[in-house]
């Protein structure tokens, strides 16, 4: 209020015109009084603030109109009230001056009068909408009108152009163009960047962001001992070249692509989706350009003479769930699958909530219901079963599927071929020279053929896309009801976006190619924004799946465009964009929060420090296994079944969880069998989505159930035990040395003295306890022969307590 008071004093001196305005407002009793005060504050602010921040229509006004007004005055033509559409400039600013807004004159604008009206019957938004405008919002509206009420097309629908990196005051911070944009925003807000993070922190950060795994001690030492000026860049290259890069990228993509190992409804039968998942890993590791990567998934089957790999890629469309329930109506579910695919296309490539237009025209974005079904029409003609039909469709592959030769199968084929060639060669050279060799060879060939036959019968059957020879007709479905058909529609794309080529097929392949039309304003922006979020915790557009009018305005709009253009011009090179961000000074900052910017930038959206946040569910488990030396780093293959509580499937008919044994239990989390209706419990606890549908953003919660999981989940306990053994055998022999190495293995950094003290006290406390309770020590260490010797068992048990502690540190489950 101090501030307001000052404004008021200033205002009296300067703004007699507005005084009259206030009097106009003051014409009602008590209910009007509140409004009056609001109005006073708004106008006082307006009158005073000569250096008022520039109003950006896209950022400040359109989202406000969209949220508070568009429901009745927006793009859904059927709902428009009073013939006023606030999304259209022509509807608002009528030439004859009768419009709701008089540019440059807030007071004369009917919109302002209605917003401020004390009369419930007049005021907007009306009381029964349960929406209200805040003082600040009213101020913004008035300011915008005073500034001329300039409308502009929503930024995300305008073409991308490469902006010139802005000038900054402290250029020494800058490492590449990204930093110019970041620093300019910091300077504009009176903020300063942080210094570079410690090298240990940086290495761990890059390793987690790029591979989803922490660094090993050897990798860490290699980097720390590298004194060359480009040591960091070369470390980044090593990480990007790691085959685990593909796994991290695939994990993120699997959420978007709604990957599951089951059908997702009812009995939730198993399906073979993993050849598609392996295709994704390999594509990322080969740095397949993102356009090809996308086109093969959306329309790989339609590429002329498509390869097996392209067909597998097209399994993307079949990742949609399948309702196998007996009695379910195929006609209904065919519609659902096509809607799911349309929605997924919208969220992954367009960053639009297309699905809002399933039942009615979109309330905020220029997507009519008809346009929704025009995209839908690309996806409704796959050859597929609709539903379980009369008797259900349980535990059967859902056609069309393709048998995918596994590595082992290909190896067998190769062996057989070699064997046969040898036999043939022998037969030609010296017939009957050595009948014994020929007999053994023939027997071997027979054996291989048998194995190959058996292997063929077991090959995974990947669901793939196959287009029907003649398309199913598509209609607008009134209120989204499959039984309630409206007008027929043809395949097309929304008018707000670039058109499809006039000539050529209109099929999924064409739709996929259209996404990469250089004029397309969304695909590149949406994709680089996700890459940015992968490395910096949140998108430049925070709503990574919604670039529409009620999505968040970008924190760095020009940087987003710069990256988008860079992405396109690099040939959609994903690693190139990641590398640019990884090289930036902005990325390399320390994540220490000095709480200097809590008022100006409480969420650190301008990046005056690096973000610090919890890892993904799979990464938390992978990290513990990795630190313990247990992680099985094999890539690809069928899903595995790490231990889960025995009773977890109790009451679920027909499901088995045959626990993987040995090293198979220690594969990375992305290989854990993904039962969509009842997910692997530790992953659920750490916010993994069930992938029933496309998921663009995982929440990061912090709950007691998570604490119980990292403390007691048998796999985390197993990790603590293996980690303890590792510490046992680690040089150096002295306690502090061992504690230091253990701490470093888990966090990549050295503990400081108070930290070492805590661990030492714990170790000694627990050692003393186990010495006097050998039975407890034996119970905790029975995984190892050391348990037979009480003294050793007590020591090892104490170490298990210490390693369990370390693996539960906040620092172990965050990236900082």
């Amino acid at each position: 209020m101090d501030c307001l008071f000052t404004h008021r004093a200033v205002w009296h001196a300067r703004a007699p015109k507005n005084f009259l305005c206030l009097c106009d407002c003051f014409h009602s009793a008590s209910s009007g009084l509140v409004i009056f005060v609001l109005a006073c504050e708004a106008l006082l602010f307006l009158a005073h603030d000569t250096r008022a921040a520039e109003i950006i229509f896209d950022r400040d006004i359109r989202p406000l109109l969209a949220e508070k007004c568009f429901a009745c005055h927006g793009p859904d033509a059927q709902e428009v009230k009073g013939d006023l559409r606030l999304d259209l400039q022509d509807s608002v600013l009528k030439k004859d001056g009768t419009g709701a807004i008089v540019p440059g004159d807030a007071k004369a604008s009917e919109l302002v009068r209605r917003v401020l009206s004390p009369d419930d019957g007049e005021r907007m938004p009306p009381p029964d909408s349960h929406k209200t405008l805040t003082t600040a919002e009213i101020q913004s509206l008035q300011q915008w009108i005073e500034q001329g009420a300039i409308y502009s097309e929503h930024w995300a629908f305008l073409p991308t152009q490469r902006p010139v990196p802005p000038d900054v005051r402290t250029p020494h911070f800058i490492r590449n163009a990204i930093d110019s944009f970041v620093l300019a925003a910091l300077e504009a807000n009176g903020l300063q960047p942080s210094t570079q993070a410690e090298p240990e922190t940086l290495m761990r950060r890059v390793s987690l962001d790029v591979r989803g795994l922490p660094p090993t001690l050897a990798e860490l030492d290699e980097y720390l001992h590298d004194k060359q000026p480009d040591a960091y860049e070369r470390m980044v290259e090593r990480m990007l070249a790691s085959p685990h890069y593909g796994e991290k990228m695939a994990l993120l993509w699997m959420d978007l692509a709604r990957y599951g190992d089951t059908s997702g409804y009812h009995l939730d039968s198993t399906r073979d989706s993993w050849p598609w998942r392996d295709w994704v890993i390999e594509a990322y590791n080969a740095n397949m350009p993102f356009d090809r990567f996308s086109i093969e998934q959306l329309g790989g089957d339609l590429i002329p003479n498509s390869t097996l790999q392209q067909k597998i890629a097209s399994g993307f469309n079949r990742n949609a769930r399948f309702n196998e329930e007996g009695g379910a109506d195929p006609d209904e579910w065919l519609v659902r699958y096509a809607i799911d695919r349309t929605t997924t296309l919208g969220r992954v490539w367009l960053g639009l909530t297309l699905n809002c237009a399933e039942c009615h025209s979109h309330k905020y974005d220029p997507i009519s219901q008809k346009e929704f079904y025009e995209i839908y029409a690309f996806f409704n003609s796959l050859e597929e079963e609709g539903a379980g039909g009369e008797g259900g469709f349980h535990n059967k592959p859902v056609p069309p599927v393709i048998a995918v030769p596994t590595r082992q199968h290909l190896q067998l084929e190769k062996e057989l071929l070699e064997c046969e060639q040898q036999l043939q060669a022998q037969g030609q050279e010296t017939p009957a020279r050595d009948p014994e060799i020929a007999r053994v060879g023939a027997a071997r060939a027979g054996e291989l053929r048998e194995k190959l036959g058996a292997s063929s019968a077991r090959l995974p059957l990947q669901m793939i896309s196959v287009e029907m020879p003649a398309s199913r007709p598509a209609f607008v479905l009134l209120r989204g009801d499959f039984q309630n058909r409206g007008e027929p529609v043809q395949r097309s794309v929304p008018a707000i976006l670039p058109p499809l080529p006039v000539a050529g097929q209109r099929d999924r392949l064409a739709l996929a190619q259209w996404l990469f039309d250089p004029r397309h304003p969304l695909t590149a922006r949406v994709t680089v924004n996700r890459l940015w979020a992968q490395l910096l915790g949140r998108g430049i557009v925070e709503t990574v799946g919604d670039f529409g009018r009620v999505g968040r305005y970008p924190t760095h709009p020009k940087l987003l465009d710069w990256l988008a253009v860079e992405f396109i011009e690099s040939g959609w090179d994903t690693k190139h964009v990641l590398r640019l961000i990884l090289h930036s000074a902005a990325y390399r900052q320390a994540s220490i929060n000095h709480h200097r910017n809590d008022e100006v930038d409480p969420h650190n959206q301008y990046l005056s420090r690096a973000p610090r946040y919890r890892l993904m569910a799979e990464e938390i488990r992978d990290g513990a296994l990795h630190t313990a030396g247990l992680l099985n780093e094999e890539i690809g293959g069928p899903p595995v079944f790490p231990p889960q509580p025995q009773n977890y499937y109790a009451g679920k008919s027909g499901w088995k969880w045959d626990v993987s044994v040995g090293e198979a239990a220690h594969r990375r989390g992305l290989y854990t069998f993904w039962r969509r209706t009842t997910l692997y419990p530790t992953f659920v606890i750490f916010d993994a989505p069930d992938r029933s549908e496309c998921s663009v953003q995982r929440p990061r919660t912090n709950t007691p159930l998570q604490a119980l999981a990292t403390l007691n989940d048998p796999q985390f306990v197993e990790a603590a035990k293996a980690f303890a053994l590792r510490v046992w055998s680690d040089a150096p022999a002295d306690l502090d040395g061992k504690l230091t190495t253990a701490f470093r293995r888990a966090t990549a950094r050295l503990p400081d003295s108070p930290e070492l003290d805590v661990l030492r006290v714990l170790y000694e406390q627990r050692l003393e306890h186990y010495r006097s309770h050998p039975e407890e020590a034996a119970a905790l260490t029975d995984f190892h022969p050391l348990a037979n010797k009480p003294a050793d068992a007590a020591t090892l048990a104490a170490w298990v307590n210490v390693t369990n502690t370390i693996l539960n540190l906040d620092e172990c489950i965050v990236r900082e």
Partner: protein, 488 residues
Amino acid sequence: MQNCFGDLKETTEFRVARRDFLTRCAGGFGLIAAGSLLYPELGIAGSTGLATHSTAALDALHHTPTAKRVIYLFQSGGPSQLDLFDHKPRLNQHNGQDVPKSILGTQRVTLMTRNQGNFSAYGSPFQFAQHGHSGQWFSELLPHMAKTADLWCFVKAMQTEPINHDPAVTFIQSGRQLPGRPAFGSWLHYGLGSECADLPAYIVMTSGSPDQPIVSRYWHNGYLPAKHQGVQFQSTGDPVLYLSNPTGIDHRARGQIVDAVSQLNRIKQTKIGDPEIEARIDAFQMAYKMQVTVPHVIDFSDEPKHVLEMYGPEVHKPGSYAYQCLLARRLSERGVRFVQLFHAGWDHHQDIPGGMRRQTASTDQATAALVMDLKQRGLLDDTLVIWGGEFGRTAYTQTTQGANGRDHHPRCFTMALAGGGIKAGFSYGETDDFGYNIAANAVHVRDFHATLLRCLGIDHQRFTFRFQGLDDKLTGVDPVKIVHDILA
């Protein structure tokens, strides 16, 4: 002010922590609970009837609540209303004859019966009688519930939309047929917070023979943060996942470990200044407390003999419906906001006579005992008990399945409610003479949800969460009415 992780001092950094948290809660879309706009200054726990142990998204209730907590006895599979509560003498008279076309109308039937030639009426094989002062109808299958007739309100013209299990359970759980929306219990936890510091606010248990799958998606938090998802109490092993320490680490050792973790986290916090670490420390403390509380809750040794007997002999069998009914009462007593049992086995496409007998034998006594037990303890006044499934069953038989079963029927079914401000000894809504169509006072699932929220002090119109640019509601966008007639 408290946040959902326990007490936090109101310093600048913790205010930032809370803002961070709120943003996170909203999945980055900004927290919009309409109440916070309408009652900006009323965020004081206690005086508002809201939670005392964690942040509720609602700053204040919209109405005076008549219920503070809910026990939902979900009967999965679609129990036959025609063989339990909805007495239809005329259907009995038509037994074996085709249900008239005028009754069948044009509504959808499932693929399991769509192609059968006839729709022959199947009268209930069970005797019905009126009970209590209120004269409510019960079939002979429910002798115990019949004794509590005057405590129940039967909504006999419930209506849902889907005709198959998965979408129908999803619909009644979350207000939508398709997965992805928060369960009712998640909404409550989100809106009202928790009343209990050492137990989850939304607890789920499953029992019965699973003729239809019961999957954890049914109690999923949807787009709400994961902390609002139902926590399943397992019937064997750890009741809460990973509650038990490994052999060789006892409770004291666990205390020392949690203490060391917290000390180290605190050291880290001073170096890095991340308020999230403080929340992590609180989470570990609560986890440690739960390790004590939960085993105590499931230990029935402090229950008097007469109470145990009231629930029947199965009460001693972990995982049984009776055991879970008593556990539900014990959890509610301790302030758990929403306890939901899923009892499977009601999908009687065949053998209504045998199947219904078996199902009711394992549920009737415990259901009645729970309501009486709550009543005796004075808990029924502000605990809302709900009994019902995802849809009802048809008046005609499924001829392909032995002609003594019933198919799915979303058009009308019965839900039973008790306590929590619901009119007791009352019946609302009527079906036609065949129990096939609604004759009067339909209650759609959305109306049902809105009415339950009303009991809990929440206006469904003002209870929203920003998702994909929409202020989404449990009750969606279609017209919804609160059933005032069943409110006491």
